[in-house]
Subunit: 318 residues, 2 copies
């Protein structure tokens, strides 16, 4: 009788390097754009202090399907637990056999960082040198690591957090590892000054970046807005920008554009398309060095399944 | 750091006796009827040869939430695998922490048998002596075991299967254990003759039981129909009967009543309500000894979560 394997977080860290996660997420986005992905909208169940979601998907070209189960409890830090924790169930499409169950808290952080880096690599000006990061939680940290891989000319990093301690901790932990000076800034405005790429990873419900701080040509990777009512950018920035989402329906409902769309400050026609469409050449990405580009990530089950597949292939299960 | 525990099938078999599963399912149905259950509709994803489903639920009174991931691949027997295999992820509501991952193939069979027995205990005439079972797959077998607990006066069992070998195997395996004679019948008509309780567990898409074979007073527990297009009873039986579902919306879409409702042979008003409403005394169940009663099971995530909770309490995790 075949056995389901259970994969602990430590094994995930060993078997899933960031570079391979980026490649896996790129393939998943390409599959989606080519119509080779089946992914119903997430199911969200409310809980005390937060919620949990069931995120199923099937990637026929990867020969694998699965469901991620993930929570969001914003006040978990007080209890010494991560805000977001996840379990990923991987399924053999031909039989439905549960191949593996993967502890996927680290995988979730990694696949989100991978999507951000992929978007930046695809949409930012190729010679981008200065990276600004707003928010220094788990995603601020992971996006910094993934952007190091996405930006070959990266020379300067500035970071800001509402909790300044968190930003100093990122500097202390990652400066030696990356070999790049990390400047902790006192406010968002000083952080984004002269930046080529701006990554937003805050839980904000009002704009953190104002339009008049932002020069032409900047690329934004927006991670924080993943639920209706959340936003990080002044809508005036979005109106200057060429905007891409990870998924049109989910992105318009809960991503960076959801508030301005609801307020009538942005129209669905103002959104250029999905990142995957740029990757497969169906849509043009950045059209000039002066253009502002925006990628809004809400997080897709296909990213999780694709990263899980990397691990299962290494273990010989897939 | 807290660890998620992984519970193998063998441990489930030890920790979850059928009698406790029936009690847990009863509590879950009561909670639902009292408005203490949060359960969005299942998400179904098509796969080659079958499909898989994500079934989330939250039971506030049990202080637990979770998601069951389960497939349905009708031709799996050819590959030496069960048709239905499942994994259950159990979540702590206050934090979203994944308390446990449970191998839930056995649990799924058990909780379905528990719902069937609960319905029979609630709706059949108390002195019922003869049980007929149509279909001798996993559910035929489990329903026989659970009905032994539900029917204190059980004296006779008859069983039929399209694959007669399966029925003989049930007789061989369970007759000694139950201490009751099991008669293998050549066809559905001879099986249901004089039965007080009829349990249907076939994958049929046309009626298996005809109206003129059925006397007044019989109770039906219908398990097989769990998808649009499936049915096991002649619609004329349903028109004579007092009908209860596990869940109104899901039951009308995919349970025993779905085909006759679609054909206009039955109206939504012809359905008396949910089993849970009878359990809490909100609706009357059987109203006379001459009445035919029908329970249609489609399977609810709250049954899985409630059974998972029994296991976690025994392990001290809940």
């Amino acid at each position: 009788m075949r056995q389901t394997i259970y994969i602990r977080e430590e094994q995930v860290k060993e078997l899933l390097p960031l570079s391979e996660a980026i490649e896996a997420v790129e393939n998943a986005f390409r599959d989606k754009a080519e119509g080779h992905a089946i992914m119903p909208p997430k199911l969200i169940v409310p809980l005390p202090n937060g919620d949990f979601r069931a995120m199923p998907a099937y990637l026929p070209k990867q020969k694998v399907a699965g469901v991620k189960v993930v929570n969001s409890h914003p006040n978990n830090r007080e209890r010494g637990l991560p805000t977001v924790m996840a379990i990923l169930v991987m399924i053999e499409p031909e039989t439905g056999f549960p191949l593996a169950v993967i502890e996927a808290t680290y995988l979730t952080a990694l696949r989100t960082a991978a999507a951000g880096a992929l978007a930046t690599r695809t949409l930012a000006r190729p010679n981008s040198q200065k990276l600004a990061i707003l928010g220094a939680g788990t995603q601020g940290r992971f996006q910094l690591l993934s952007h190091k891989l996405a930006l070959p000319n990266l020379e300067q990093v500035s970071i800001w957090s509402l909790d300044e301690d968190l930003a100093w901790r990122v500097k202390r932990d990652l400066e030696p590892q990356l070999g790049i000076a990390i400047e902790v800034c006192p406010n968002p405005q000083s952080t984004v000054q002269d930046a080529d790429v701006i990554v937003t990873t805050t839980p904000s419900r009002k704009p953190v970046v104002q339009n008049d701080w932002v020069s032409d040509g900047v690329h934004f990777t927006c991670i924080g807005a993943d639920a209706p009512g959340k936003q990080e950018l002044d809508p005036a920035i979005l109106r200057r920008a060429r905007i891409f989402l990870d998924d049109m329906a989910q992105g318009m409902e809960s991503g960076e554009v959801n508030v301005p769309l609801n307020q009538g400050l942005l129209k669905p026609e103002d959104i250029a398309g999905e990142l995957g469409e740029v990757l497969i050449g169906k849509k043009e990405g950045r059209t000039s060095d002066d253009e502002i580009t925006v990628f809004s990530s809400t997080g897709l089950a296909i990213q999780d399944i694709a990263c899980g597949a990397v691990i299962l292939r290494k273990l010989g299960v897939l």
